[in-house]
Symmetry: C2
Subunit: 314 residues, 2 copies
């Protein structure tokens, strides 16, 4: 693949930025990848493990001369970063971000972007429960969606160029309206995360009752929640604060729905329960057909993670 | 491994019974495995794929002469089955079950069990979102817990014998009080399932708003919920009806907790959110340390399920 941007600056060196660096370098998509993180510790680790071609010691140095600047910090920090880098951006450069919320980022970042710089907000739907400079890997974006929410005045050529970079890392690009993005993600990601956090919190309170039993017998469903609830706390704090309206809307519907099911249990309305559970099963089928998950039982975890049967005892 | 029961009868031929048959046969734990299912279709499929050594056409025939009878039907059906098989049980035989609820099963089954037959209730903490006679596999129980809840008068020798069979299939056995079992499972399994069903139901209602977008962009958290919510509807209907009190108790705590987080979002109390999310992360660590899940990012799904990077375009 040929180089798409001569110099890429990554602001923030966590899971997403680290994976981008590895994917761009593995596929020869960038001439040079420069990285900056606020924490000196993160910068040192990035240096040690060679996460980027060059670690910059301040923001101005990081973005100077960059053809693409990627804001990969918690959503709540984007506005301040944009204000700081604005005077140092190269004319004609592209600024994008990888935040999980789009309207709030646009409102915080766009006013700072100079006239001669292109701002194309983005959101890769990829991640794991791990975070930090050691958590990235080159194939994180393969077969994943990467949503871009450029405004109407965006330069189509620059959107196409950024799209080529993203495709080069293995992802598929979709253009979307920022408000719609925030609603869809409130359903598919933000609210599920909040619910998982809540369920794990309930179990935590019960720890004294059930001691280690909650952990010990977690395989029966709970452990899937704990994986989601192990995601980066600061990133998620910002997501909920910045996509507040959509999340509160979906949470309201969720609570309503939960009370209806709770009532069905209390009234022993088995028909209602069975009918409901049958309907939800069909959605799973849709997701597998859409190629967004594996049909392997239990994510293929049962066969991969286990040791083989114990040898005969006698 | 040597034969532990000369004849094992499986009543019900779904995921758990099918996996037991395959595991017992692969490890030479049973002289003969006889299977019965109420549905003629299931019996025909079991016959065709050789799931058991012999398919019986009625309940009496299935359990006749069996040294171990396994009730592997939805929890709500256990009592009626117990009543039907009781006159045909061999003196000295062991009856066990694999239901996800224990107190209700004991109440429904125990009164029918003859004096000269041993009833040892059980629950393997293993499963996938698949069901039916084709869904079983021999390694389902490997490294999983299998809880037994015998009453105080149970014959220790018979409990030890059943334990040997279970260990031979790769699982670890723990003895537990039935009431405690139901509370712990309400936390680790039943309530998480109900919540996942609810969230998927909310998304289903929103389908007209977001069309296929919910499915398309499910990778961001939601798909983990859909896997849980794809589990067998009849089995789960019965679980909620039969473990009603414990589930309603945990659901009440969950709703309380959710409202506190919802309020923190509304009041923009970022400190509370971040602190909460940091605490839940620690529980995940506990589960990985307890060997109940893989530490691989995203269950190792990212690397296993995806195709490699696309070849260069130019």
């Amino acid at each position: 693949m040929s180089v798409i941007y001569d110099r890429v600056a990554l602001v923030g060196l966590g899971l997403i930025a680290g994976s981008m660096s590895l994917a761009m370098r593995e596929n020869g998509l960038a001439g040079e990848v420069v990285g900056y993180a606020r924490s000196a510790d993160t910068r040192r680790i990035a240096q040690e493990i060679g996460l980027v071609d060059r670690v910059a010691d301040d923001l101005a140095e990081a973005v100077a001369g960059a053809d693409l600047v990627v804001l990969a910090v918690p959503v709540g920090a984007m506005g301040a970063i944009a204000a700081q880098i604005a005077p140092h951006l190269k004319p004609g450069a592209v600024v994008t971000d990888v935040g999980s919320v789009k309207q709030a980022v646009v409102e915080a970042v766009a006013p700072h972007i100079p006239q001669d710089v292109h701002f194309i907000p983005g959101h890769p739907l990829a991640g794991t429960e791990h975070s930090g400079p050691r958590s990235g890997f080159a194939t994180l974006f393969v077969n994943r969606w990467w949503l871009l929410t450029p405004d109407e005045g965006a330069d189509p050529e620059q959107v196409a160029r950024l799209t080529r970079l993203i495709r080069g890392m293995g992802a598929s690009v979709e253009i979307m309206d920022a408000a719609r993005h925030d609603l869809v993600l409130a359903v598919t990601s933000h609210t599920p995360h909040l619910i998982a956090y809540t369920m794990v919190g309930v179990a935590d309170h019960l720890k004294r009752v059930t001691q280690s039993e909650v952990v010990k017998y977690s395989a029966a469903g709970f452990r899937d929640f704990t994986r989601i609830a192990a995601s980066d706390p600061v990133m998620w704090r910002d997501v909920f604060l910045q996509n507040k309206e959509a999340v509160l809307d979906i949470l309201g519907r969720f609570a309503e729905e939960l009370f209806v099911l709770q009532r069905a249990i209390r009234m022993e309305d088995g028909e209602h329960l069975q009918e409901y559970f049958t309907r939800t099963r069909a959605i799973r089928r849709g997701i597998i057909e859409a190629g967004q998950d594996t049909a392997a039982p239990d994510f293929g975890r049962s066969s991969a993670a286990e040791k083989p049967l114990a040898p005969p005892e006698e």
